[in-house]
């Protein structure tokens, strides 16, 4: 039983990291209609940054915040490339963000080399109902919970957040009432970078990050995001937690080699079932 509880909490922590990536994807997709393939890259950039900054002797806290801000900047730059030029279709933008992700490989190898890097996180562990949990896992869960509450407040209570929601629901009407849709799209990309960065900073102490970790991160994040049809952050959060727990359970009970297949298979099934329920006309009109 304690092993089960341990796996459950570890799985929730993994799921929380996935949820942050997924919420970044959702934030960008809602506002701009673009699926940001570079979303995993932001996490990698932040993770590598935090390992370097801590290595330079900067204190905890400062290093993490700086790394997250670097990721937000990376998000803004990605946005400029993807939607900065008027008339870029969402599918072209997807291919551009793919290009940005590959470009980031080159930059990351020059700056950090091609070996995985880690960073010290919260040391120690606590015992919950007989299960030993690393403190870092609890930190991941706590930070994700706070982030989601802040996101809900941002989208529901602030003018800027409501403007973003307006762009998401009807870009044309948003333009009519005087909102700058393009600038808000860029803001969404920066927000995506910020969320990806938080995920990267939290995950780096748990599992070492290298330049090509982004493929795993983005595929998991996308798998979680499709649960909510790429538009509903709360469903994406639930999907991410389910995915994280399923993967950790699979690994814990001896199917560790098939962790990736479990996640990807789940994603394919969800996508195909959802596609079957929506009509072609609706998808083409959106």
């Amino acid at each position: 039983m304690s092993a089960f509880l341990g796996y459950l909490l570890n799985g929730l922590a993994v799921g929380c990291a996935i949820a942050l990536i997924a919420s970044g994807l959702v934030a960008v997709h809602r506002v701009t209609g673009v699926v940001n393939f570079a979303q995993g890259t932001f996490a990698v950039v932040a993770g590598l940054c935090v390992s370097s900054l801590l290595g330079l002797g900067l204190p905890h806290g400062l290093s993490e915040v700086a790394a997250v801000l670097v990721a937000a900047l990376a998000g803004l730059l990605t946005g400029l490339a993807a939607i900065g030029r008027p008339g870029t279709t969402p599918l072209s933008s997807l291919i551009v963000t793919l290009g940005v992700g590959v470009l980031a490989y080159a930059v990351e190898i020059v700056l950090w080399g091609d070996q995985p890097r880690s960073a010290p996180g919260l040391a120690g562990s606590v015992t919950v109902a007989g299960a030993r949990i690393q403190t870092q896992h609890l930190l991941v869960i706590a930070v994700t919970a706070v982030t989601f509450v802040l996101l809900a407040l941002f989208f529901g209570r602030t003018y800027l957040g409501k403007a973003l929601t307006a762009c998401a629901s009807n870009p044309y009407a948003a333009r009519v009432v005087g909102l700058d849709v393009r600038r808000l799209g860029l803001l969404a990309f920066a927000l995506g970078g910020l969320l990806g960065g938080i995920a990267g900073v939290l995950v780096t102490p748990l599992r070492p990050i290298s330049f090509d970790t982004d493929v795993t991160l983005i595929v998991n994040g996308f798998a979680a995001a499709v649960f909510g049809g790429l538009t509903r952050p709360v469903v994406a959060l639930a999907g991410a937690l389910l995915l994280g727990v399923a993967e950790t359970m699979a690994a814990g009970y001896g199917y560790g080699a098939h962790q990736l297949e479990v996640a990807l298979g789940l994603m394919l099934v969800v996508m195909i079932v959802r596609a079957g329920r929506r009509s072609t006309i609706h998808q083409e009109a959106v």
Partner: protein, 340 residues
């Protein structure tokens, strides 16, 4: 007005040079030449799929891998190599039909991610299963040959590769100039409109998917005989992205564009590789340069040359030819403007 079209004007010398090259190139240049031909073969399929059927596949490398593993397993099992080479595209196409039936209900970014997921699953399985040799892969694959004749030299593989490419291009040409080809163009624009004019959308999409998989499978089959080994590491996700880059650079939906794109990217990478291995360059230079080139070329072409290199160049040439003809008659002017 008896000027031949630009295609014939350029095509004939290109074909002649293609045939002459294997005789003059040395072994290392031939290796590049063969890999270029194989990449072009896959890219023609990607271009057909993206340009005509409007579907993005980020998993084309998976079909390449299936072709390579099929041919390798069969010939290691004692089956004559020509049978293995024929089986490679067939198995890839059958696999595409099987997984395409559910996957092609998705579109746009969903399909892109689904095909990427498919490749990741296949690579992971190939690295774990026993009969595919795990991470080490399959080695000591016999040379390609018919009966007692065995192909040894790289030049022979070059002819095999470019012969295969010619076949692939011919098939593609016939597909897109036929009635289904027009139907494909229609469904790339709007599936609803295509379906309402009586086009069997699902069946056509699946056929093109299978056809592009068969092209990749054929390329994979030749690849395994040429290199003599296959392993999961030979088919990274980046290879699928590479085919997208080549297709986009050359111009989606053009047969020659795929070849031009593959040639341009391969030669560019080869040039950079020579530059990167100059003494004094850091050890990471080759991979960094190739990543940077893929990325920058992809971004710049998608944003600024969305039609691709070949249509942009031929479009400009045609415009210039039109301009030189302008003084002839009013009437021709009008028809030229109309045709554009």
């Amino acid at each position: 007005m008896s000027r031949p079209p630009v295609g014939t004007l350029i095509g004939l010398p290109v074909a002649a040079v293609t045939l002459a090259l294997p005789a003059v190139l040395d072994d290392s240049a031939l290796a590049v030449y063969i890999l270029l031909g194989l990449a072009a073969m896959v890219t023609v399929g990607v271009s057909l799929l993206m340009g005509y059927a409007g579907q993005v596949s980020l998993g084309q490398g998976a079909f390449y891998a299936i072709g390579a593993y099929t041919a390798a397993l069969l010939s290691l099992g004692g089956v004559p190599p020509p049978v293995g080479l024929v089986a490679a595209p067939v198995v890839a196409a059958v696999f595409a039909v099987v997984i395409g039936t559910p996957l092609l209900r998705l579109r746009g970014h969903h399909l892109a991610f689904a095909t990427l997921a498919m490749q990741l699953i296949l690579l992971s399985l190939a690295g774990q299963l026993d009969f595919t040799g795990g991470d080490i892969g399959l080695q000591a694959i016999p040379q390609f040959g018919v009966g007692s004749f065995e192909m040894g030299g790289a030049a022979a593989y070059a002819y095999l590769t470019w012969g295969g490419l010619a076949l692939v291009m011919l098939v593609t040409h016939n597909v897109i100039t036929s009635r289904p080809g027009r139907a494909l163009r229609a469904l790339a624009t709007s599936e609803t409109a295509a379906a309402s004019s009586g086009i069997p959308v699902g069946r056509y999409k699946l056929t093109v998917f299978a056809l592009s998989a068969a092209f990749a499978g054929l390329a994979g089959g030749i690849y395994c005989f040429y290199t003599g080994y296959v392993a999961p590491g030979s088919f990274p996700v980046l290879i699928s992205i590479q085919y997208i880059v080549m297709a986009v650079v050359g111009g989606l939906g053009t047969i020659w564009g795929a070849v031009v794109g593959a040639t341009a990217i391969t030669l560019l990478l080869q040039g950079l590789n020579t530059l990167a291995t100059v003494p004094g360059m850091p050890t990471y230079a080759p991979s960094v340069l190739s990543y940077a080139v893929y990325a920058l070329v992809l971004i710049v072409v998608v944003l600024f040359l969305p039609q691709g290199l070949l249509p942009a160049v031929t479009g400009r040439l045609a415009a210039r030819r039109d301009r030189t003809r302008q003084p002839l008659t009013e009437e021709r002017d009008g028809s030229a403007a109309e045709s554009r």
